[in-house]
């Protein structure tokens, strides 16, 4: 390249500093532009990773389930009181009672107190006896013997064993522990300052509470200030209004309201300040004993086979309530007792300290095991998180997809064949084409309105049924399938058609014998993609009532059913953490199905792709 180029008689400057700077700026702009593109793609990738990662992490707990292995006395009076030995009678027996009895035997102290007994029973799932029933019904000879069976726990207990209810920290003891009694309120002394660390922890928690309260106070102060300003403004307006005499009543009302607001805000703020001061003071005076309430972390002490819950905490002593009675008041050697701190305050969790004490003891006996949650795949919906499964939704989805496929594949292919091969090029055909393209972009919920008005209200088809769901989804994905099938038919070269016509095949024979079979991979690819779309569709199904709570696995296409995405929607609304995990797990299952379908579509496309 020469140093200078001549443009319209002027010498184009390429070497001067300004020219170089100009070129440099242009290249910088180029690099920036490119970076925007990379950034955009990275953002999309990041979004996908976060989305999937978030769901996978949330889903993990749902794939395993905690189970107790218990020795149970299968008594004849509970299971088969008449001694009939009839499987039908046995199946109706009261299997939960032996399990409860066996649990109660572990914690005899709970037997006296009705509330404690109920709490203890509440640790079990409402269908805890499932395995026992199956076992005994299969082998009635077990009645009257002692068997070891797996027992399902409630979802909260399940989450506790997965460590999702509260963080648990065990702190070592260095001194000798001496409890004052075995039941009731107990004082426990330690020969070393064994509780100092717990005390520090509790005080830290107090400081954190104070910080939260301080933020709240800031927020309220802001509101108070705006309120005060409004009040001043309103007062001024009121004076002005008094002078003119109009709108006084309304303004007076406003002023009164602001005044009362101000008063109540002031009171709240004062209360807050007092609490904050108290908390900070307690935090500042290190080593001073603390009284523990439900908003502070819990401190439990395991000693002499029992559990004490601290209510007052000092460096070397605690005063507390006995949760599980001690066997004796003997002194315990440093390694024979321990303290446990539960991070989450009792008020913020579903399980009480008492229940956690029981659960800890059960775990220490080695009765708890985690296993793969088959129940999730073999049961229908339930109000109890530990019992809820996706089989009902899966079967509902399968029925719905079946109806969709049976309707939209033939109709879609037939219309594609007509439009691509036989339709004359006229306004009618053009109308159909425009119409199909538009239908492909109509919001899915509108198809729900169509289903509601036409299939349910006009034709009176059964509400919530896979039949109606399948019909609606078939109409929804019909445009996709028609467009894909037309593209596939178009891709078959005309020479094939001519060859068939040339030997005397009719136009329809040429199409059905030659063109359609060659277009079939493309048609199927389009169909699978359309079906994947239908499988993930939710909104129109809500409107035709597939949102009902249905426990039973549907048996046919006219029965009320739900589908996988709707199940996800229903579960996502439930407050229990157990259901949150179930929702994520159901999403994983749904995504796996979708990936599978899309994978098949890609393989089909690759395998049967023809280059003519």
């Amino acid at each position: 390249m020469t140093d200078a180029a001549v443009v319209r008689g002027r010498v184009l400057d390429l070497t001067s500093d300004t020219a170089r700077a100009h070129v440099r700026r242009r290249y910088q702009a180029e690099a920036r532009f490119r970076a925007y593109g990379i950034g955009a793609i990275l953002f999309a990738a990041l979004a996908l990773v976060v989305l999937v990662g978030d769901i996978v992490i949330k889903a993990v707990p749902a794939f395993t389930i905690a189970e107790l292995t218990m020795e149970v006395n299968v008594t004849a009076e509970a299971i088969d009181p008449t001694g009939s030995n009839d499987p039908a009678v046995i199946a109706r027996g009261d299997f939960i009672k032996p399990i409860r009895d066996s649990l109660l035997a572990m914690f005899p102290a709970a037997a006296e107190n009705r509330r404690q007994r109920q709490a203890l029973y509440g640790l079990l799932s409402s269908d805890a006896a499932m395995a026992l029933r199956d076992k005994v019904v299969a082998d009635p000879a077990l009645i009257g013997t002692r068997v070891s069976v797996p027992v399902l726990v409630s979802d909260d207990v399940d989450l506790f064993y997965k460590g999702l209810v509260t963080g648990i920290e065990e702190l070592p003891t260095r001194g000798i522990g001496s409890p004052s009694a075995t039941t009731g309120t107990v004082t426990l002394l330690s020969s070393a300052n064994d509780f100092s660390e717990e005390l520090v922890r509790v005080k830290q928690a107090l400081a954190e509470q104070a910080a939260v309260l301080r933020q709240e106070r800031e927020r309220l102060r802001d509101i108070d200030q705006t309120n005060a300003a409004d009040l001043v403004a309103a007062r001024e307006q009121l004076t002005a209004a008094r002078a003119s005499g109009a709108g006084v009543a309304a303004l007076e009302g406003a002023v009164t309201k602001y005044e009362s607001d101000e008063a109540s805000l002031k009171a709240t703020l004062d209360g807050l300040s007092a609490r904050i001061a108290d908390l900070e003071n307690r935090f500042d005076t290190a080593g001073s004993p603390e009284t523990l309430d439900a908003t502070a972390p819990s401190v439990l002490v395991e000693i002499n086979g029992g559990v004490i819950k601290a209510t007052e905490l000092g460096n070397d002593r605690i005063v507390g309530e006995v949760l599980i009675p001690l066997t004796s008041t003997d002194n315990a050697q440093p390694d024979a007792w321990r303290t446990i701190v539960l991070d989450t305050p009792e008020a913020n969790r579903k399980l009480s300290d008492q229940e956690i004490a029981w659960l800890q003891q059960i775990e220490e006996k080695g009765l708890v095991s985690e296993r793969f949650n088959f129940l999730f795949f073999t049961s229908g919906d339930s109000r109890e998180a530990e019992l809820a499964g996706i089989l009902g939704a899966l079967v509902g989805s399968a029925f719905t997809m079946l109806v969709t496929l049976i309707i939209c594949l033939p109709i879609g292919v037939a219309s594609a064949i007509y439009l691509e091969e036989f339709a004359p090029k006229n306004r009618w055909t053009e109308l159909i084409e425009v119409n199909i393209n538009n239908l492909a972009a109509v919001p899915s919920i509108v198809f729900g309105l169509l289903g509601l008005a036409v299939f349910l209200n006009f034709f009176g088809l059964p509400r919530s049924s896979p039949l109606v769901g399948g019909l609606v989804l078939a109409l929804l994905v019909l445009p996709t399938i028609i467009i894909a099938s037309r593209a596939a038919l178009k891709a078959v070269p005309p020479s094939i058609r001519e060859a068939a016509l040339g030997v005397g095949a009719s136009h329809q024979q040429a199409v059905f014998h030659h063109v359609l079979p060659l277009a079939m991979p493309g048609v199927l690819t389009g169909t699978i993609i359309g079906m994947a779309h239908a499988l993930g569709e939710t909104a129109p199904l809500l409107l035709i009532g597939m949102i009902a709570f249905i426990v039973d696995v549907p048996q046919g296409i006219t029965q009320a059913a739900t589908v996988l995405p709707v199940q996800i929607f229903l579960w996502s609304d439930l407050p229990e953490i157990g259901f949150q995990a179930k929702t994520s797990a159901a999403i994983i299952v749904l995504l796996l199905f979708l990936f599978l379908m899309n994978g098949i579509a890609i393989v089909l496309r690759k395998r049967f792709e023809r280059r003519w």
Partner: protein, 274 residues
């Protein structure tokens, strides 16, 4: 000769008398016009195709040879813009008679295309397809016979007899074209139309096809469109020259190539325009 096809005759039958030096006419056409929408692609063409001989259509590209050829088995029906007027008769039968089933016509008038277009199916299926849809074979054995004899007539049998179940698209170009000829023969047509059957082939394959055409002449009436003057001279007995939709000149092949009457024909065969 035009006078021979008197208007007084019943419209369904069109007859002609044998003209000098040719076998009797198998196909006769009378004032055939083809329009593609507004475009007048073929103008007032009247010609006889003698039976059991090869007739060649030559002419520059776009002059309407294929268009005319496709009139004989009504392949133009598949083009919605195309409109055909005039009369075409095969053995006295008007093929544009509305009561005639075009499918049966195409069984009588087979076609071989410019590019070999076997079905992406087995060799056997390619040949058997026509007999099947026309219900020609009563049994599997008969069908096997038809397939074998068609392949033999197309000179392909020896090469493919061990792989009848392999795909027809796996053959070489020349073999594919012979397969297409076998496929056309299998339904037992009387006329075979060939639109530049050798244009996609190398010289050796071309020679084979030409040989084959010469053999087929004994049993079939063949109409061939070709761009190769030598090919027309080698294989055909009668030649027709088209230019811009007009049939300029027709006659015995040796006459056309040695002593054309029309100036345009002469220019074309001597290569002065193309």
């Amino acid at each position: 000769m035009e006078a021979m096809v008197a208007d007084a005759r019943p419209s369904a039958t069109i007859r002609s008398v044998p003209s000098e030096g040719f076998k009797p006419a198998k196909v006769i056409t009378q004032d055939v016009n083809v329009y593609y929408g507004q475009k007048h692609a073929l103008k007032h063409v009247t010609i006889d195709i003698p039976e059991r001989s090869v007739t060649a259509f030559i002419g520059p590209s776009g002059c309407g040879k294929s268009t005319f050829l496709r009139c004989f088995n009504r392949m133009n029906d598949t083009i919605s813009a195309a409109r055909v007027t005039g009369k075409i008769g095969i053995d006295g039968l008007d093929i544009y008679d509305p009561s005639l089933d075009v499918v049966q016509l195409r069984a009588r008038v087979g076609m071989v295309f410019q590019k070999p277009n076997p079905f992406p199916k087995s060799i056997y299926e390619n040949v058997a397809y026509g007999p099947r849809i026309h219900g020609i074979a009563a049994s599997k054995a008969e069908l096997d016979d038809i397939v074998a004899s068609s392949l033999r007539k197309a000179g392909l049998f020896e090469e493919v007899k061990d792989r009848l179940n392999e795909s027809g698209t796996g053959l070489s170009g020349g073999q594919q074209q012979r397969l297409c000829i076998a496929r056309a023969i299998a339904v037992g047509p009387e006329v075979i139309l060939m639109d530049e059957p050798c244009s996609a082939l190398d010289p050796i394959a071309t020679a084979k096809i030409e040989e084959l055409i010469d053999e087929l002449r004994e049993n079939f009436t063949i109409v061939i469109v070709t761009h190769s003057m030598q090919q027309a001279a080698r294989v055909s007995q009668k030649t027709a020259f088209f230019h811009l939709g007009d049939l300029v000149e027709e006659g015995p092949t040796d006459m056309i190539f040695t002593n054309p009457k029309e100036r345009r024909t002469q220019d074309y065969i001597t290569g002065r325009f193309g």
